[in-house]
């Protein structure tokens, strides 16, 4: 087994492992606050659950990006001298994995407070969900930057 393959597997593991951390915490936070909101305002359960699911799907983005980079690393190929391959694959994995932690948690927090807000003011659910989506999308920007750098490393520097 060559150095490049080792690095690609390592990078894939780091990318999914750390990338999933943030999303997991974020989605858990959403569910936590959604439960609190339903306990306070059982009549708004439908709206809260709907918003929670949307929020979780968006909070999952960084985890999905991690999975994407891992798939590209495992099933794709990286060219060049072994040491460069090593650096490229590991760098891409670390960029996506570490970069995914924050946005996952951040998007989760936004979703959590949206759920809580709907529990308090069920009539504003449309406005709150919209604001939540914009906020989550902006807080997810850093995960997008990580993805850009990871893909640049693999496809441009690695020439895979």
């Amino acid at each position: 087994m060559d150095l490049g393959m080792i690095a690609r597997l390592l990078g894939a593991g780091i990318s999914v492992g750390f990338g999933g951390m943030g999303s997991g915490v974020g989605e858990g936070l959403c569910a936590h606050h959604a439960n609190g909101a339903i306990a306070r305002q059982p009549a708004a359960a439908d709206q809260v659950v709907r918003t929670m699911l949307v929020a979780q799907a968006v909070a999952e983005t960084s985890g999905i990006f991690g999975l994407l980079v891992a798939f590209v690393l495992v099933f794709g190929s990286v060219a060049g001298p072994p040491l460069l391959q090593f650096a490229v694959a590991l760098g891409a994995g670390i960029a996506m994995g570490m970069g995914g932690i924050g946005p996952g948690v951040g998007a989760g927090i936004a979703g959590a407070s949206a759920c809580e807000g709907i529990g308090r003011q069920p009539r504003l659910s449309g406005l709150l969900t919209r604001t939540m989506l914009i906020g989550q999308a902006v807080s997810q920007s850093t995960a997008v930057y990580s993805l850009v750098i990871a893909l640049l490393l693999i496809f441009v520097v690695g020439g895979g």
Binding site: V58, V72, G76, R130, L133, A137, S141
Partner: protein, 256 residues
């Protein structure tokens, strides 16, 4: 035998057939070459990604056709299709006037409705069209999100200049104090990059994950659910997010 049992038996039969076929097939993961049209124009080499071009024209054609169809049979009492279009128009109208009404006034903000509405409709159908077998999302190609992003940035900055005047617009980049100029410019460019790559990453990520997982489970059952999640759900949300961000950036740009 009751109808439900027949249906169940039929489903089990189809599943068994699928598993049998799947076990014979080899998992094959291939991110194939991109079909391209190449031609030269005045000494420059031009490349068009043919599948992307065809698919995005198909999406536009569908919407133009639907709009013409609805227009040709407008009724006082709306039918189902007309009611859908009326709902969409009203939804986006209230969205646009809610967001831009404060700084532009209700009349002027209505000018943004056609742009925002068609941006959403185009991106939405582009994102979910991959659910139909044989068709491919045009947004899977980075060029389409980047193109939409350029349209959005042009619109945002043009409306800012139109509202505030060139002098005040340029002054906005020197806030809070002049040395911040490079940071402000980088911030504007980062908006565009994140807008385009968010859409591209989500759609492309969904497509690649679908490809790999389908090949790993040999096309049995699981891809259907994944297709629903990545195709319909994520596609709709990302189209909405793109449109809302375009609207929000415009609102920030035109407010003082």
């Amino acid at each position: 035998m009751t109808g439900r049992r027949k249906l169940l038996l039929g489903l089990v039969g189809v599943l068994a057939l699928e598993v049998a076929l799947a076990l014979k097939a080899k998992p094959e993961i291939e991110i194939g070459p991109i079909p391209q049209w190449r031609f030269s124009l005045g000494g420059h080499e031009l490349t068009i990604n043919s599948r992307t071009a065809v698919m995005s024209w198909l999406v536009m054609g569908i919407w133009i056709g639907a709009a013409l169809l609805v227009r040709s049979r407008l009724r006082e009492v709306p039918g189902r299709l007309q009611a859908t279009f009326e709902f969409l128009t009203e939804f986006f109208q209230s969205l646009v006037t809610d967001t831009l009404g404060d700084s532009l006034g209700p009349e002027k903000s209505r000018e943004y409705l056609p742009w925002i509405g068609s941006l959403f409709l185009f991106l939405w159908l582009s994102n979910i069209i991959g659910v139909v077998p044989g068709l491919e999302e045009p947004t899977r190609d980075l060029n389409v999100p980047v193109g939409c992003m350029l349209v959005v940035l042009t619109m945002v900055h043009t409306s800012a200049i139109r509202k505030k005047g060139l002098k005040k617009y340029i002054k906005g980049y020197l806030q809070p104090f002049p040395p911040m100029l490079p940071l402000n410019i980088i911030g504007e460019m980062a908006k565009g990059v994140s807008l385009a790559f968010r859409l591209f990453g989500n759609i492309m990520g969904g497509a690649i994950i679908l490809l790999v997982v389908s090949a790993l489970v040999r096309y049995v059952l699981l891809p259907v659910g994944l297709n629903l999640f990545f195709g319909l759900f994520v596609g709709t949300i990302q189209a909405f997010v793109f449109t809302m961000l375009a609207l929000a950036y415009t609102a920030v740009a035109v407010s003082d």
